[in-house]
Symmetry: C2
Subunit: 401 residues, 2 copies
């Protein structure tokens, strides 16, 4: 492949390459000198489950790997300890060496579904960060200003809203940047929210007299709720090691407006196929068919084609058995808020009065997710969507938000 | 001495004691348990010359020492490396161990003129700060927020004015605070500008499960220019190991409006004597007499009474020999700016025209600090005041600002 074709191959699906001209140069130089570029990805070891959102970035790593470059997978066992910003009392628990090893093994196993692990360099950043002298840390900190750090979107918002930012949180991006220095990265990958950190790594490399890395950012995959970014803590994710059945089912539950987004970021279909799907959807073809295809494409990636076919069949069978219609209207309620079932039935218009609701419950005519409810005092507090069935034909999906 | 008397003794001359009630408790407890309180002072080793401004704080340490408490003198060889905030390119040079030892010896020698060094504990903070693990540093940083740190006056001003603050500068007060943890300080002394740092040390001790120190701040001594605080880098200072002649001469040069301020902070005169001086000055007595007394008081403190008497006599003799009047008018010019002597003579009104000035110079009628000037092209660039004499009676003191 010539350099332009390589660059096109890498560019596909990325959000941004900063600076693109430098990547071209690096690819060219690597080709000329027959040496591999070092492609960095850092991950937080506290949640070792890889989901489709993570996979967007890891699949891009694989593209580099396929071009013969050296992927360096950094498990942030040190930076992971600094942890997330929310509230200084909530200092994250230190991971033991044992736990890090276990998570590392889990990672390798999962990443192996995407990357060639034999050709991948796995590193823990405690290896170099844990050995920094206090003076070296001072030196790293002296390289960046407070004002510049506060330009980062999340910091700037929190600062403006007077929400606390621990000083140690400023160390996080600096340490992440130092990772690039330690492994002499040529390219670092991340989601678009990582742009600031990736560019900071670039600057830190210059500060340490190295050639700066190129930042390659990937778009953020939205969660299956269609609202927030896919994240482990948000339970709106699809893990790549979940069973074919689970993956397929979750994909069938996504809102129609993110079908194309998922085809783009979570599958390997060609651009022309993608265009055909867009056209068909805009012409009003039933989205359900495309969700089914999407589900199969994604299951195929991590479990193979046969498993994907099977998952679809099984899904259809269960769906029919439960007697659910293909399209159910949705009603949104506040997540986690307690609500009396009787009241909910009236509020949603499924029944007209409280006494109607009580009578129907007592007659066994109200089901939640296929299960008959007989307690007229029943209260709900929803974290995930449920389907309520009243009588034989009235269905409503209740979605917490 | 009972506790109330002790407290009064300590309070004398201080700016603030935070919280005073806790100091009372600590003094009481120390008395009851017959144990000494640990009184901390941290100093920057980069300028080992102790001046009258530093002495204000060190003399207060001596008060504690006289009450039987343990003075802990911390040389900030580690924090000194972090250095002053101005500009990240200007990272301060690391001090070698050799230099630290030399400075430490110099310190001891100077401090010995105020404190009983045999009873003083001298420590270098690299002893504990240099051994901090990266994770411990993260922990220390996690204890304070960015917003809180930006409340510190100097940071807040620089932040508002968009002047850069290096992230390492946030480490400085945290490390200084950690010094209090390391030596288990009961009291920390400092100038009023140190209040934020002293209170931060207090909070950090609580964070580490220790009893918090009491912050004792001392007023800032203004420099002999009467404008800025006394500081080594500002050359407006009087070093306590300077010769009696130098000290006396510098004191004689201070502006009248800081005479009382110096009596209050730089001498040991009683409150009643101070009142008498204030009254006399307000009644119009010649300030020169009080400056001479001030000079003698200060020289006595560091060189003894005899040296003080001698310094005064010598000063008077030189003054008379030079034939300078007791009172010379002052004229201010920009410090360091080049100015042609001829132009200066005209500008100040000492002569009327450039040609007058040239003629007088050629006739040998112009002197600077007692030295005849004959070069009509002479240019000046002033860093310290000079006295220009034109003819026999015209004197003018030129003061750079």
């Amino acid at each position: 492949m010539d350099i332009t074709t390589q660059l096109e191959f890498i560019k596909k699906g990325t959000a941004e390459i900063v600076p693109e001209a430098e990547l071209f140069q690096k690819l060219e130089e690597a080709g000329r000198q027959k040496k591999a570029l070092r492609i960095k990805l850092g991950v937080d070891p506290s949640s070792p489950h890889i989901h489709l959102g993570n996979a967007v970035v890891i699949r891009k790593l694989r593209d580099f790997q396929q071009l013969g470059h050296q992927v360096v997978f950094i498990v942030g066992d040190f930076t992971g300890r600094i942890g997330d910003p929310s509230g200084r009392a909530a200092t994250r628990r230190q991971l033991s060496e044992e736990e890090v090893k276990t998570n590392m093994a889990t990672y390798k196993e999962q990443v192996g579904r995407i990357l060639d692990v034999e050709k991948t360099e796995f590193r823990c950043n405690s290896e170099w960060l844990g050995r920094l002298t206090p003076f070296e840390i001072v030196k790293i900190c002296s390289f960046q200003t407070v004002a510049r750090m506060l330009e980062r979107d999340d910091f700037s918002i929190r600062f403006k809203e007077s929400r606390p930012i621990g000083i140690h949180e400023f160390l996080y991006p600096l340490f992440q940047g130092y990772d690039s220095v330690a492994i002499r990265a040529d390219v670092e990958l991340g989601g678009t929210e990582q742009k600031f950190n990736l560019l900071l790594g670039r600057e830190l490399q210059i500060y340490y007299g190295q050639k700066p890395q190129v930042a390659v950012t990937m778009p953020i995959l939205v969660g299956i709720d269609g609202v927030k970014r896919m994240g482990k803590s948000l339970s709106n994710y699809v893990g790549i090691t979940e069973s074919p059945k689970e993956i397929f089912g979750k994909i069938m539950s996504i809102p129609d407006n993110i079908i194309v987004h998922y085809f783009e970021l979570a599958t390997e279909i060609s651009s022309s196929d993608l265009e055909k799907i867009k056209t068909a959807l805009s012409k009003g073809e039933n989205p359900r068919n495309f969700k089914a295809r999407l589900g199969k494409e994604i299951v195929s990636l991590y479990h193979g084609k046969a498993a994907a076919e099977k998952a679809e069949l099984e899904f259809d069978r269960i769906f029919k058995e439960k007697g659910l219609p293909e399209k159910i209207e949705e009603y949104r309620i506040e997540a986690g808020k307690k609500i009396w079932l009787v009241r909910l039935l009236v509020e949603t218009g499924l029944v007209k009065t409280n006494s109607d609701a009580r009578r129907l419950i007592q007659q066994g005519a109200v089901e939640i997710d296929g299960e008959m409810i007989s307690d007229i005092e029943k209260e709900l507090s929803l974290k995930k969507p449920i389907v309520i069935k009243v009588g034989k034909r009235r269905f409503l999906k209740i979605v917490p938000k």
